[in-house]
């Protein structure tokens, strides 16, 4: 019996090879897309799952209930961790965590490594197993360090690093550390990545902030005891908050903060570390968190494409089933039971799906390197072999084949054997189902087209919006961890002074956008001004900052060497001026420092977007305060000589600092780099939309072939009676075009809602124009019309005698 099913299935498939090839191609492209997208989604959700204590690991964060909304922050003060551990019995372990880079020396090797400052508990909490050393004691000594396998190999080669001493530059002073453990290098899907684990006591602000509850500088993780109830903990933490953050609470109260539902103005909360990878709105977490919306979009696009391909499959199977009505009738006459017919149809579906799955998997394997490169994805085909993936794939396979295989068979079964044998159902109307499925298909396609256009518009907008500073002719060069920034600035200034391409040179604490060193830093300071708390971003700059960046000065003047006092003065932006209450601010003094020293405002600059366009322009204070380091050097060059200037600046850099890598990049590259997530999303939408449309059209083409076959006689008769070719083409196409139009109308509100919400994440965004929707609908209709026209024109121009005779 089984052999007979297989044989019949194969012959039937071979007979309809054109349709089945279309089916297989469409489905395999969908399978390939799904594999790539679902693996990416799986990978993103797999972040940090390897920690065995994950369910008990939490990050501490604070929420300030400010008048203009809740403000979460993960930055914690130094004394919090020991106090929390001492005062709450359910805290099993706790560790502070901060990152920075430093130069590490061993023998004649000198490497820039990522240092992770943690407490002793860290290795007991997180699953970074030691391949050498004891996790319980490795960090017990203040000058012990644990290094990753990768770092060990690069520093020590084949030597055993245990009990060896390395030199690490802290605060530009070499300090000796003893290697007491080698940790397995963290997997790619770990939010916490490190080369070296060092005791938190060495962190740059540790000594200064030892007793300061008002300086928040680092993250705090806790491991709670088994059976801990997170829902009541915030309430239980309230006395702790009142005791230690009284000053914070008073300031918030004074500034009009409103208590939350529990009556708290400032609260400490815990968020499970399992959510870490998706905590984009927490105000700073470890690693590169990613928006869950982005990941869900990927899954949705994968699902859309799969649904579209499955719809093709069902529609084609149903359409073909009608042409096989007679066969079903004969089989029924000869005694075939319902299940026997169902299994026979299912078998054919299984074969097509199997072929598509194999082909799709191959396609995914071929496309994977490209996919990984474009979408910065870390997936691998090996991930497919995990039991959960295999079971999931198998379930999906069974569901698809059962729906696509059983459904047409059930339809055939409904017809009476007698009418089937008479061929009465051959010219049956396609029914509501096929139309419904086509509408679903084109709704999804139109939706993706709209999303593509809107994301593309937004990215163009982000890239082209004037930011208020010169981003095309200014080169930003990270000074590196090896050097003292101010010295590098001075050296470069001298060296470039006779370079004819260079207009001016300056330095700053923060970069614009994301440079090639990958880091984005920010510094916010709060102080009291006229009995109100003022919060401002701080940017440490050097002379000629405004000139180099072409930032427009509205009032006052730039920092000048002519005034010795300028090193303690500030220049503020319009937003800061507004916050300070308005006019005649130049010349006034701000009480910015705890020691009571005041700083004079010498100038006000026009607002410029010093952060990404996701955010409004916040108050900003430019200072030359030497407490902040110079981390970036900005060089403005003459227009028209960018490439030549870049090379010459690079040469100068290498001549001055032969051991430090040149990481210069143009500011427009940096600002574009900060929209990588949006670009990736847009790229995925574009690919998704193109694939969805192509697969939809394959389905539509196959359906139109079927329709033309079914209506062959009608077309012949109409032609004999005098119908023109365009009239026949219109007759055959109009039904479908109407369906596509309906699909577009259905897609409009969904697309509007999705894109409206997405755009809300940008402070600066494009307007959703009606024409975007109209264009998407028009495009979908045009593509559908062209697809159908291939067949309808062919049918319309053919000789009617042929079709009438063949009937």
């Amino acid at each position: 019996m089984f052999k007979n099913y297989l044989k019949t299935a194969w012959r039937n498939l071979w007979k309809g090879k054109v349709f089945n090839a279309m089916n297989v191609v469409g489905l395999s492209v969908a399978v390939a897309c799904c594999i790539l997208l679902f693996l990416t989604v799986y990978y993103e959700f797999s972040y940090d799952r390897f920690h065995t204590n994950l369910s008990n690991l939490y990050q501490v964060y604070a929420v300030s209930h400010r008048p203009n909304g809740d403000e979460p922050s993960t930055s914690m003060p130094v004394p919090l961790t020991p106090a929390l551990k001492a005062e709450y019995q359910d805290v099993k372990f706790a560790s502070r965590s901060a990152n920075s880079g430093a130069i590490v020396r061993y023998g004649d090797k000198e490497l820039d490594k990522d240092i992770h400052y943690v407490d002793e508990d860290f290795l007991k909490m997180y699953s970074f197993p030691l391949v050498q050393g004891n996790a319980n004691t490795a960090l017990s000594g203040i000058n012990n360090v644990v290094i990753s396998e990768n770092a060990a190999e690069s520093l020590f080669g084949k030597q055993n690093p245990i009990n060896k001493t390395i030199q690490i530059n802290l605060d530009n002073k070499p300090t000796s550390f003893l290697v007491t453990g080698i940790a397995k290098t963290a997997p790619d899907n770990s939010s916490i990545q490190f080369d070296i684990l060092m005791r938190f006591e060495h962190y740059e602000t540790y000594q200064r902030d030892l007793d300061h509850w008002d300086n928040a500088t680092h993250l705090v993780y806790v491991q709670m005891k088994e059976g801990f109830d997170p829902s009541t903990f915030t309430k239980r933490l309230q006395p702790f908050v009142k005791k230690h953050f009284a000053q914070n609470i008073d300031l918030l109260k004074r500034d009009g903060a409103k208590p939350d539902a529990e009556g708290n103005i400032y609260s400490l909360k815990l968020t499970n570390f399992a959510n870490n990878h998706f905590n984009v709105n927490m105000g700073g977490v470890e690693g590169s968190p990613i928006s869950k919306i982005y990941v869900i979009s990927l899954a949705a696009i994968g699902l859309f494409i799969l649904v579209i391909a499955c719809i093709n499959f069902i529609n084609l199977s149903v359409a073909r089933a009608f042409t096989r009505a007679r066969e079903v009738g004969v089989r029924k006459t000869l005694g075939a039971g319902k299940w026997q017919l169902l299994v026979q149809f299912w078998m054919e579906t299984v074969m097509v799906c199997f072929a598509a799955t194999v082909l799709g998997t191959l396609l995914a394997a071929v496309a994977m390197p490209q996919f990984k490169a474009i979408f910065k994805s870390q997936v691998s085909m090996g991930m497919l072999l995990q039991p959960t993936q295999l079971i999931g794939a198998l379930l999906l396979f069974i569901i698809i084949t059962v729906i696509a295989g059983f459904y047409p068979a059930l339809i055939m079964m409904r017809y009476k054997t007698v009418s089937v044998l008479k061929g009465a159902v051959l010219n049956n109307k396609p029914g509501k189902l096929r139309n419904t499925l086509l509408v679903v298909q084109f709704s999804l396609s139109t939706l993706l087209i709209i999303c593509t256009i809107v994301t593309w518009q937004q990215i163009q907008f982000l890239q082209n919006k004037p930011l208020g500073f010169n981003k095309t002719e200014v080169l930003s060069i990270p000074t590196g961890h090896n050097e003292i920034g101010l010295n590098v600035l001075s050296l470069m200034r001298n060296k470039l002074s006779d370079n004819p391409d260079v207009v001016s040179v300056t330095g700053a604490y923060m970069n614009f956008g994301r440079g090639t060193d990958g880091s984005m830093r920010t510094s916010i300071q709060g102080f009291n001004y006229k009995d109100t708390e003022v919060r401002t971003h701080i940017e440490r700059v050097d002379y000629e900052y405004l000139k180099t960046l072409d930032i427009k000065l509205l009032e006052g003047r730039d920092f000048s060497r002519a005034y010795a006092g300028d090193t303690t003065a500030v220049v503020i932006n319009e937003a800061m001026a507004t916050q300070l209450g308005g006019k005649n601010l130049v010349g006034t003094y701000l009480p910015m420092y705890d020691n009571g020293e005041k700083t004079q405002i010498i100038g006000i600059v026009k607002n410029y977007n010093f952060r990404s366009l996701h955010e409004d322009i916040a108050p900003l204070t430019l200072t030359m305060n030497k407490e902040y380091s110079i981390n970036y050097i900005y060089v403005k060059v003459k227009p028209g000589s960018l490439i030549q200037a870049y090379d010459r600046i690079k040469q100068s850099w290498h001549a001055l600092l032969p051991n430090t890598e040149f990481q210069g990049s143009w500011l427009n590259e940096n600002t574009e780099r900060q929209y990588r997530a949006e670009k990736r999303l847009s790229g995925i939408f574009v690919s998704g939309a193109v694939i969805a449309i192509i697969i939809s059209c394959i389905g539509l083409l196959a359906i139109s072939i079927m329709i033309v076959m079914q209506r062959n006689k009608e077309i012949g008769i109409r032609k004999v009676l005098g119908a023109s070719v365009p009239r026949i083409v219109m007759m055959l196409s109009s039904d479908f075009v109407k369906l596509v139009l309906l699909a577009a109308v259905i897609a409009f509100p969904i697309a509007w809602w999705l894109m409206h919400n997405w755009l809300q994440s940008f402070a600066y965004r494009v307007v959703l124009h009606w024409w975007v929707f109209a264009a998407a609908a028009l495009l979908a209709m045009l593509v559908a019309f062209v697809t159908i026209s291939f067949q309808s024109i062919k049918a319309a121009v053919s000789n009617p005698i042929k079709s009438l005779r063949s009937e």
Binding site: M1, N4, K7, T8, R11, N12, K15, R326, E327, G329, V330, R331, K332, T333, L334, G335, A336, G337, K338, Q340, K416, T417, V418, L421
Partner: protein
């Protein structure tokens, strides 16, 4: 074998009700060869479909071997059909995707006969129908006469008690038609009851009895000598 009493069948559209069978009474004994004749639309095919349990009557009684089958459900009808009734159609109704051998084998598959026995029985019947040399051909590679012989082979392979033939020579030339009629006669002589719908007086002469229908009723019965 077959006893039908006051059998009625109507076809309804939204506006018109057509009477296909009008209180029809008919008895067919085991081993008979009966031809049903009449003009188009007289109810011949409807009667044959009801007799073959492919369609159900709207009223009346249908006793098959003493059992009332008029209102059997689909499963019971399919069961009765596959064990007792063979069909021969005017348009052969062979499955294009299956070879001659596989077409004939199909009813045996559905009745659950083992592969070894299937092979023996199919070869036996193909030899009998003189089509064994074409066993691996597909229907479209055969002449009309050959296709109808395959169809007859398929109808008899399960050794049914009754064969229903709907215009079995309608699509054949006279010499092929005669061959088919000879085959049916042979089968009847071996004990199979045959009911055949035909327009052809020539074919009807092969039968024992001709039932003539008009407007869904029996108008005349001729006993052939």
């Amino acid at each position: 074998m077959i006893q039908i009493t006051n059998l009625e069948k109507f076809y309804r559209t939204e506006e018109v009700e057509t009477v296909a069978l009008n209180k029809l009474n008919l008895e067919i004994k085991t081993g008979e060869f009966v031809a049903i004749m009449g003009p188009s639309g007289c109810g011949k095919s409807t009667l044959l479909n009801i007799l073959g349990l492919l369609d159900d009557p709207d009223a009346g009684s249908y006793l098959f071997n003493g059992t009332e089958v008029a209102h059997f459900n689909e499963r019971k009808r399919a069961d009765l059909r596959k064990h007792n009734i063979g069909f021969v159609f005017q348009s052969f109704n062979l499955i294009d995707e299956l070879t001659v051998f596989e077409n004939v084998e199909l009813p045996l598959i559905y009745t659950g006969v083992s592969a070894v026995e299937r092979k023996t029985r199919v070869e036996e019947v193909l030899t009998k129908m003189q089509i064994m040399h074409r066993r691996n051909h597909y229907p479209q590679q055969l002449s009309g006469g050959q296709q109808q012989r395959v169809a007859i082979a398929r109808a008899v392979v399960n050794k049914p008690k009754l064969i229903l033939a709907d215009e079995p020579t309608g699509n054949l030339d006279s010499s092929n038609g005669n061959e088919v009629m000879e085959l049916l006669t042979d089968l009847n002589e071996q004990g199979t009851t045959i009911i055949m719908v035909t327009h052809s007086e020539h074919d009807a002469r092969y039968s024992h009895r001709i039932v003539r229908l008009l407007d869904g009723q029996t108008v005349m019965e001729n006993i052939m000598m």
